[in-house]
Subunit: 347 residues, 2 copies
Amino acid sequence: MKTIDLALLGFGNVGKAFARLLTAKKQELQEQFGFNSRITAIATGSHGVCLDPNGIDEQNLLNLLASKDPLDLSVLDKMAFHGDMFDFIQQAPAHVLVETTPVNPRSGLPALDYLRAAAKRGLHLITANKGPVVYGFRELTELTKEHGRLFRFESTVMDGAPIFSLFRGPLAGAKLHGFYGILNSCTNLLLDRMRGGETLEQAIAYGASIGITETDPSNDVDGWDAAIKVAVLSNVLMGQNLTPMDVKPIGIRRITPEMISTAESQGKRWKLVCQGGWQDGHYQVSVKPEMVGPSSPLYTVDGTSSYVNFALDVLPGLGILETDPSPKTTAFGLLADLIDIVKSETR
Amino acid sequence: MKTIDLALLGFGNVGKAFARLLTAKKQELQEQFGFNSRITAIATGSHGVCLDPNGIDEQNLLNLLASKDPLDLSVLDKMAFHGDMFDFIQQAPAHVLVETTPVNPRSGLPALDYLRAAAKRGLHLITANKGPVVYGFRELTELTKEHGRLFRFESTVMDGAPIFSLFRGPLAGAKLHGFYGILNSCTNLLLDRMRGGETLEQAIAYGASIGITETDPSNDVDGWDAAIKVAVLSNVLMGQNLTPMDVKPIGIRRITPEMISTAESQGKRWKLVCQGGWQDGHYQVSVKPEMVGPSSPLYTVDGTSSYVNFALDVLPGLGILETDPSPKTTAFGLLADLIDIVKSETR
């Protein structure tokens, strides 16, 4: 049985959920796909680093995660590692780098540099981070290809819902003309709460209390998270070369309770609508609030759900809906990427 | 460049759309997937048969299709073929059989026998026909496998929208617990028309006038088409062994204009809802009319659209929506199957 060694860069909610999912799916992965995976290295910004060429003990890792004490991964370190992230990337005893550090929507750095270094070392790359995808999709695809490796990022848009794998596989014979959808679940929840009578500020406070919105919610509220996803879809699926700034997003900050009730009285709902596609020979993108009625599939996309609708030459309307996202669904995106990588090696 | 020779069994709207799509996509298929496909044989019930080992001339075939005269394929026959469908299957100079004959929901015959014969001859099988899938999924999978061939049927549920390919590829690492959705677009259109004020009879007459409903619409209206799709999904994706009869469908015949307006007054809509999945350790299926409100993704599925929602261990809610179906979208399902088969051969 093949053993795949994984180095995890970043170990927040998604990284932790991925470690748990690997343990939960161990037997399935062996039986169904004929491989064993081991986490051999984890690097974090503020919770220490650990490396073990024989695989970090799963139970010890799960115990650490379950403990109420502050996380300190260095207690599991078997290599007495000292160095920075680039040293870590060079020394991690791994075939695959799984990167889940925070997104930087303005440059993709430093994650992009980490992934470049790992690609040059000949590792497969998996990331849940939109930054390096939007700023480095072509470069990282080429770099990994030079070493016979793959660059995968399924969980960057709509968590673990299959998007990029769909276009590599089942939809490979189709041509994409454009897409629209609701790609930021935070603002979708906020608009739902406002429909329930809250102001934007109250809705943000609620979102923060359940861990959906960040302390500074401007990344979501001003449309930047949606814009980076529009740029990712445009660059990866439609050959564009956009930054989030090119999308010029309009967020939901100017949506007032009055606007919400006006929409309601017309049987409509405000949604932060993302769009990208060819119109009259020009590639157009937008992120902006729109009122949608019950004839639109966006109308029923509520709470933290997200949705994308693709217009293809052979499928005029193909929609993908994701409901109830969580770190586990994002972790599945990472796992799907890993399975794809393993399949590519055994082909 | 590899050349794949195709035998078409059945040449109705879907078969014709497939022939047109192959011509339209010829260059793409060469450039992107490195193969040429030729239709070398077509057999129909009442429009003749034609075979040409060098590939039936595309332009002649398209001209025949464009002509107003009754279709007679035998004018293109280069082999002077005489015989029945089984002789055709034996003699067709082809690698792949593409079967699109009418569905028989009670037994899958005779299509199932045709596919058996083709599998035993060592052909790859592609079908748009739910009958042989629901009654012969395991057998045909095994038979083709014995010859190193594949059995594919993407277009049997939701036309060309990726369903089965999704579970073979992107979702291979996930476990399916159950599904629900709107799988029969005819009844969905009829219910929409009734919401617009028509009786069921008027709606059926409209459906017939635009070619959506058949002269005898009971296959759709009484839920049999939905039931066979529920059985197909259950058998293929969830290891069941159901017939449409096991699903015991309840159609829309008893939905009255009064029921429609009662639902409307409650802000709800009647939909013919399909379900399948594990509940308390038992596998349960149903097809029955239900009132759904705007918190359900089914609420906005209107006209001839269809929708399926999957509950998976790692993705609690993954929905696939198809809008604007046509013979072309079904033909794309056949093409996606063909691409999958070609990929399997070059791996």
